[in-house]
């Protein structure tokens, strides 16, 4: 892929539009949030969806939207620098150009959860793809029962969106519990795995909806803990990660059992994933 189209109206679905970086913000030591101006034809996104971001000469990677889906203005992506493409994306300055196609993939069932308690479980960077769902839940808070965010990460320094979480916690419309794997010195919060937070919140398991995103091992154990608590399989939703190329269900790169993660996912319900999650290297 050598060219970038001038607008998303391009007929070739594999041709990225050119988007301008308009802002950049450091979140933690290796995580940055990029703000890009919506390219022509951008019609918004649903929480949980992702874009393919492309840098000529380096490659193209899937990155979820992490901003408020209802807010006008730039599209936000929160990127962890782990390899060539993600590190180059995280280093982009305002004014730089980036290729963008999307939005792609399935969404968190936020509207469908109306009337229910909602348990959001995030691990590490998994909070980023969940943040748009949290914005939606907050915006229509009265439509839901209890809403809790249980967030586990490596250490206090790795907590994403910390100020925002603190503000939300003060406003009392979400219950927010954060735990880290290890802490030294002045950390006054919880230490331990994220599943230990579950018994601490009040919710009605059978009718709750759970949204889970994080490393796959974390999601497996989170799903087990939710099931043990009594949340039915179809009400537990995970966001899967697989390597991607086309992102439009054509190349088969992201195949996961009978599904393509780019098209049928990334968000899928546990009843659909159960058997496959336990199989190694699928």
């Amino acid at each position: 892929m050598s060219a970038m189209a001038a607008g998303a109206a391009a007929t070739d679905p594999m041709l990225p539009a050119v988007a301008r970086v308009v802002g950049r913000r450091r979140e933690t030591a290796d995580v940055w949030t990029l703000e890009v101006a919506p390219p022509d034809g951008w019609a918004g996104f649903a929480p949980g969806q992702f874009n393919m971001l492309y840098l000529p000469g380096l490659g193209e990677v899937p990155i979820s939207m992490s901003g408020d889906p209802a807010a006008p203005g730039p599209i936000r992506h929160t990127v962890r620098a782990v390899g060539a493409v993600s590190a180059a994306l995280a280093a982009l300055r305002p004014g730089a150009a980036v290729g963008l196609r999307g939005p792609y993939g399935s969404a968190w069932p936020v509207a469908e959860a109306a009337g229910a308690d909602v348990v959001v479980m995030a691990g590490g960077l998994g909070l980023a793809p969940l943040r748009p769902a949290l914005y939606r839940l907050r915006a229509e808070r009265a439509r839901y029962g209890r809403v809790a965010l249980l967030y586990g990460t490596r250490s206090p320094a790795d907590i994403l969106f910390r100020r925002e979480l603190e503000r939300w916690r003060r406003q009392l419309d979400l219950e927010i519990e954060v735990t880290v794997d290890r802490a030294a010195g002045d950390w006054r919060g919880s230490v331990g795995v994220v599943t230990r937070l579950l018994p601490r919140i009040a919710f009605e398991p059978v009718s709750s909806v759970a949204l889970v995103c994080g490393p796959e091992v974390m999601m497996r154990f989170a799903a087990d803990a939710l099931l043990d608590a009594g949340v039915p399989e179809p009400r537990i939703h995970l966001s899967m990660e697989r390597n991607m190329r086309c992102a439009i269900g054509q190349c088969g790169h992201c195949q996961f059992g009978a599904d393509f993660v780019c098209k049928d996912g990334p968000v899928m319900s546990y009843d659909r994933l159960r058997a496959r999650l336990k199989i190694r290297e699928l």
């Binding site: 290796d30 962890r80 782990v82 390899g83 691990g123 590490g124 960077l125 586990g152 990460t153 490596r154 790795d158 735990t179 794997d181 290890r182 802490a183 030294a184 010195g185 950390w187 006054r188 919060g189 919880s190 230490v191 331990g192 795995v193 230990r196 018994p199 601490r200 994080g214 490393p215 091992v217 974390m218 154990f221």
Partner: protein, 155 residues
Amino acid sequence: MTVETLERYILEHRFFEGLEPAFGSLIRGCARNVRFEAGQYLCREGEPADQLYLVRHGTVALEISAPGRGALTFQTVHEGEIVGVSWLVPPYRWTYDARAAELVRAIALDARCLRDKAERDHDLGYELMKRFVPVLVERLHATRLQLLDLYAPPA
């Protein structure tokens, strides 16, 4: 605090949920009500494990100190949970420090008293085991996940 209140606290604690009231009064004989200010230690690594604590309020940080690195918290224990499993198995010694991270109210159970009662009354002993073993298994499982360092940057 009256013995009745103490017994009620024991029976209402999540750790003893569903316990037969008769056992409650046996356990109460080993119990006392305690309180720790923020920063006080419930126990210190290496000391004899002669107590265990049912946390009723507040947060306890379980820590290991390493030279040059200070105290590292590997787990926090909260309302409805317990501090102390070392009292169950010889040599009955604490293997970590437990520090009150904020005001902590707890029921302290005398370990020797509890061991003696469990030895005499195996039904009580079995009830205790059924409650302590899951805590041990859960901590082992949590330790394994923490060792995996799931949220670390990929190597």
